[in-house]
Every structure is written in C-alpha cells, then in structure tokens.
C-alpha cells in the first residue's frame, strides 16, 4: 500500500522531470529537472530493494556526472534563457513519432517476454534472505569480485583512458 503510493509519487516525479528537461529553455533548468528525475529513479531503486544501486545512483550520477555537466554549462556561459532550440514542427512531429514507436515496441516486448522470463526466478523471499545474510553491499560485491573481476579491472583501465582523453581534448591549445 505505502509502496504503491511512493511508486506513483516517484514515477510522476521521474516522468515529469524527464519531460520538463526535454522542453526547458534554460540549460541549467533542464539539468536540474534531470537531477530531480534521477532522485526519483533512486527512490524506485530503493522500492526494488536495490539499496546500494540507489546510493551509487545518487552519489555518482546525480552527484558527480550531472555536476560535471553543470560545470561545463557554466564554464561555457550557456546558462542564459534564450530562444528555444527545439526543432521545427515537421521534424518535431517526426521525432515524437519515432519516440512513440520506440515506446510501443518496448511495451510489445514487455507483453510478450515478461511473463516467461519472470517465471522460475528467485523471487522476493530469496532476495530478502540474501540481503539479510550478506548485507546490501555484500550481495553485489560477491559476484563483482568473484565472477566479474576482470571486467571490473578493465573498467578501471577505461576510466584511466577517459581521463587522459578528456584532458587531451579539452586542453587549451598553445597560441
């Protein structure tokens, strides 16, 4: 009951924030709407018992990546409200039609595939027992450092390459 209430609340916040982000004219307002949507999505992660993912989503996504976007918007001095940069009516209708088609396709996939994939799953009781015995972080840490250790290390390499690449790309060229 209370879960349903919070799910509806977070879903409305997420959809409203995402829609407002697409149509806001000020880039900073757009970004803050996206932060609101991400906060709501973190709430939904909590409702789905993914507490660690919810915290990481807040700290890494809303806290770090979106603040990086905010820095760039302010660094480039783009924070002014200007004439909207939405595309014209013909292109706009086409874009919304494509997005609606994507949504329809995903719903069709959900209708056809969801019931079979959910059958034979672990179920709520198993997840609750795992979180009880290992903790919300341990549940993820166990497969990550046992089965996915090599991908984890490759991720660190990827981040190193991204750091070097970002510095090389954004460096001020010598006159």
């Amino acid at each position: 009951m209370i879960v349903d209430f919070f799910f509806v609340l977070f879903a409305v916040m997420a959809i409203g924030g995402a829609t407002a982000m697409v149509f806001a004219r000020n880039p900073v307002a757009s970004l803050l709407y996206l932060v609101m949507a991400f906060f709501a999505m973190s709430g939904i992660f909590v409702l789905l018992d993914a507490h660690f993912i919810a915290a990481v989503n807040l700290i890494v996504y809303a806290g770090a990546i979106l603040v990086l976007f905010l820095f760039v918007i302010m660094l480039l001095n783009l924070g002014r409200t200007e004439k909207t940069d939405l595309r014209g009516p013909a292109y706009g209708i086409l874009g919304i039609a494509v997005a609606a088609a994507v949504f329809g396709l995903l719903l069709v996939m959900l209708r056809d595939g969801h019931t079979t994939s959910m059958a034979g799953g672990m179920g709520q009781a198993t997840i609750d027992a795992m979180i009880q015995s290992q903790g919300a972080v341990g549940v993820i840490a166990d497969p990550m450092f046992r089965n996915y250790l090599v991908p984890f290390e490759i991720t660190s390499l990827l981040l190193l390459v991204a750091i070097v690449g970002a510095i090389v790309l954004a460096r001020q060229k010598a006159p």
Partner: protein, 99 residues
C-alpha cells in the same frame, strides 16, 4: 500487475522520452543529458530483472555507470573543444570533422 511490470513500463517511457529529447533538441549538452537519461532507464530495467534472474544484473548497472562517467567526461571535453572553435553548441552548425 505487480511493481516490476509497472517499473518496466516506466523505464520504457523514460527511454522514449530520452529518445525524443535527442531527436528534438539542437543543444549538444542537452542531447547528452538525454542520453544519460536513456542509460539510467536501462539501469532501471536491469534492476527489475535482477530480482528474478539473479543479482548479477546489479553488477552490470555498476558497469553501465562507469561507462557513463567515462562517456560524459570525453563527450563534454569534445563539446568544450568544439565550443572553443565555433563559440556555440548547436549541433546543426557542426559539419566538419577537422578544421
């Protein structure tokens, strides 16, 4: 219907809104933010399926976040480099790979 089904529908809707944003806007930074929204919608799907198909799906959420961070850093650096040259971030004006 249960909360999983509703969350999958929500994630499909958020992905579609992100698609619409990429197609409708001309501001490169906002297109980028829409891509982040699409990535997070996929994270939502992965978390839903982690409940039935195994907790490993949440490990993949972690990797998606790491790749998103790398992509944001490099992409924003590219936008800064382009802005230094053109003094704008409107994607309709970019038609050269090298200048």
């Amino acid at each position: 219907m249960d909360i999983e089904t509703y969350t999958l529908m929500l994630s499909a809707l958020l992905f579609a809104i992100g698609t619409a944003g990429v197609l409708l806007r001309r501001n490169a930074i906002i297109m980028f933010m829409c891509i982040e929204l699409m990535l997070n919608a996929v994270n939502l799907t992965l978390v839903v399926f982690s409940r039935s198909l195994g907790i490993e799906a949440q490990v993949f959420v972690f990797f998606v976040m790491a790749v998103a961070a790398a992509e944001a850093a490099v992409g924003l650096a590219i936008i800064i480099a382009i802005f230094r040259h053109y003094e704008l971030v409107n994607v309709d004006r970019f038609n050269l790979l090298k200048w």
